[in-house]
């Protein structure tokens, strides 16, 4: 077992495998993105369908199964509301709230990260402290406590989650700002007396933004899961307005008797989260080194 023999093995056996897994990876990632787009298109389509109605109850036709009644393609829930409409409406709400949360994370994280990286010094220390504290605060508990005081609402959820999950954005923004601030194209305008704000805006931001978008996309899955969990605990948007997590909570009680009521929103969550996860794998810097075979 010499070095050269080992290298030769790696050299000859691996290449075909390596190409295959890389292409596989890209294919999966595209598939993931496609699924998410399809779900969004489906949500829009259902909203335009004439039978769309997420609120009208019909106790006489409650708990119908899917494909039984043409008026209710996916069945009805325990008070007779159309499930297809509810899942679609819930999707709209859940995805919009997710977008809002990610947006707040994005803005807060990017701003704080840029400030910390560009200015360094005490700004960096203060922001590091803020980061530490935010990491330590249990967002779920805060939301529960605040909901008990102010009443549960979507706004509260967006604010609390928005201000407790920005750290991954900040970390990357800071690192980028840090590495860029000593580069020529940044140092030059500085020496010429350009204001920091201008420098950040014109020279650093363009480099940071693409990476922030990647972080945003990567975080969508976990935000949806977190939000669904909080809806499941009864926080956030209240019935009868549907959200995916809320629909799972409603449906769970009847899981034994009409399982589709809980499976449909659960499946929707699964598809969107899975889709964005696979899609964002394309961007995550994961090693795709070939594996070494045992001889």
């Amino acid at each position: 077992m010499t070095d050269t023999v080992a290298m030769a093995q790696v050299g000859t056996a691996a290449p075909r495998r390596r190409r295959l897994s890389a292409r596989q990876g890209r294919w999966l990632s595209t598939c993931g993105g496609l699924i998410v787009v399809l779900v969004i298109l489906a949500i829009i389509a259902v909203h335009l369908w004439p039978g769309f109605d997420a609120f009208t109850q019909d106790l006489a036709h409650a708990r119908l199964g899917p494909f039984v009644d043409p008026k209710h393609p996916l069945g009805t829930d325990v008070v007779g509301r159309d499930l297809l409409s509810r899942v679609a409406a819930g999707g709209q709400t859940t995805l919009l709230i997710t977008a809002a949360i990610v947006l707040v994370n994005f803005v807060v994280g990017t701003v704080l990260g840029l400030l910390a990286g560009f200015f360094g010094g005490w700004a960096d220390n203060v922001i590091a402290l803020v980061t530490d504290v935010s990491l330590a605060l249990p967002a779920v508990l805060l939301l529960i406590a605040l909901s008990a005081i102010f009443g549960p609402s979507a706004l509260l959820m967006i604010l609390v989650l928005g201000f407790t999950h920005w750290m991954s954005f900040a970390r990357l923004a800071r690192a980028t700002a840090l590495s860029l601030r000593s580069r020529d194209f940044v140092m030059a305008p500085r020496m010429l007396g350009a204001s920091s704000a201008r420098i950040i805006r014109t020279h650093i931001l363009p480099h940071v933004l693409p990476q922030m978008f990647i972080v945003a996309v990567t975080s969508i899955g976990s935000v949806i899961l977190l939000q669904a969990g909080l809806d499941y605990l009864g926080l956030g948007i209240q019935p009868p307005d549907p959200t995916w997590g809320g629909l799972v909570l409603e449906g769970q009680k009847y899981m034994r008797l009409s399982p589709w009521q809980v499976i449909l929103p659960g499946l929707a969550i699964f598809l969107v989260v899975g889709g964005t996860t696979f899609f964002s794998q394309r961007f995550t810097a994961e090693s795709t080194q070939p594996l070494r075979k045992v001889r």
């Binding site: 504290v133 779920v140 508990l141 529960i144």
Partner: protein, 305 residues
């Protein structure tokens, strides 16, 4: 040394902020006398009790007393059960939550290590794909949904396991499985990636050159180095777990801190809520400090000055 001091100072500031937030939350929720007294109490009686308990004093005075009390380990008395200390109620439930969190963490991590090492020893792309795929599937399912599915299959369908928690060893299986699978998914990906990064390192080739078998190289040379970057993530994760098993606790009626806190909040027992918040943050901060210090001790590349 100054790194250590800095780290500890950081931790103290975090704690201080959390303590203040807990205080603010508690005061925002109102004065407790109306809850303690029964229906039919007059407004005057309510005011009197509030005064006796110190809630009519100026806010800074209350804050000062609150902080002083904390330093003595006095977290106040539960509003709902004046016979029990607020911290007592939390600590009573702590073992249930920590057992769940630690057990799930350990099992998930150990299995992830075994899995990642296996992938690299055998060099099997199929095995890696299997773990990546099943991992992606598991991480796309919300924890509460996964837990409910487990109950349906194993407790109700097959009748092998109990559906409720904390009544003996078999009742641990499903809740632990719910969390441990999520942990496993997280660590197996990280370890696989970390091990991959080690493959091209100098010392690896040297080890092969010295005649070590592939398996030995992976297990004894690469693994320890791959473990290092995992340590910080694991620390953050474990710390978060210890405070955050609330959803799984709901699914299995697990008598842990999460459920106690939800009950305390809805009963407006903010003395207990405050105590709970503090405990959760304290655990988080302590675990992280310990992990960071360990890390700096072990990795010579981290500057201690």
């Amino acid at each position: 040394m100054s790194y250590v001091i800095r780290r500890i100072l950081q931790a103290l500031v975090t704690l201080f902020v959390a303590v203040t937030i807990a205080f603010v939350l508690g005061r925002m929720s109102g004065k407790p006398a109306a809850l303690i007294l029964t229906e039919g109490a007059t407004a005057q009686q309510i005011d009197e009790l509030n005064g006796k308990l110190g809630f009519n004093d100026p806010i800074l005075g209350q804050y000062g007393r609150y902080l002083a009390g904390l330093l003595h380990g006095d977290f106040g008395v539960s509003y709902r059960n004046p016979g029990q200390s607020a911290i007592g109620i939390i600590l009573e439930r702590l073992p249930a939550t920590t057992t769940l969190a630690l057990l799930s963490f350990a099992i998930g991590l150990v299995l992830a290590v075994v899995a990642a090492v296996l992938v690299h020893i055998t060099g099997s792309h199929t095995l890696r794909a299997l773990f990546v795929w099943s991992g992606a599937l598991r991480s796309s399912v919300p924890d509460f949904f996964f837990g409910v599915l487990l109950v349906l299959i194993f407790a109700v369908g097959l009748g092998w396991l109990p559906s409720l928690g904390y009544t003996g060893l078999p009742s641990f299986v499903l809740p632990v499985a719910t969390i441990a699978t999520a942990q496993f998914v997280l660590y197996v990906r990280l370890l696989d990636s970390a091990l991959s990064e080690q493959t091209t390192a100098e010392y690896v080739r040297t080890a092969y050159a010295r005649g070590k078998s592939h398996a030995a190289v992976v297990a004894t040379e690469m693994l320890p180095n791959a473990f290092l970057p995992i340590l910080t993530v694991a620390g953050l994760n474990l710390a978060g777990l210890l405070g955050g098993t609330i959803i799984v606790e709901q699914v299995f009626s697990w008598p842990g801190m999460g459920v106690a806190l939800i009950n305390a909040v809805s009963q407006r027992d903010f003395a207990v809520v405050q105590a709970g918040l503090l405990v959760v943050v304290l655990i988080f901060v302590v675990v992280n400090v310990v992990v960071d210090l360990l890390y700096s001790l072990i990795d010579p590349r981290v500057k201690l000055a």
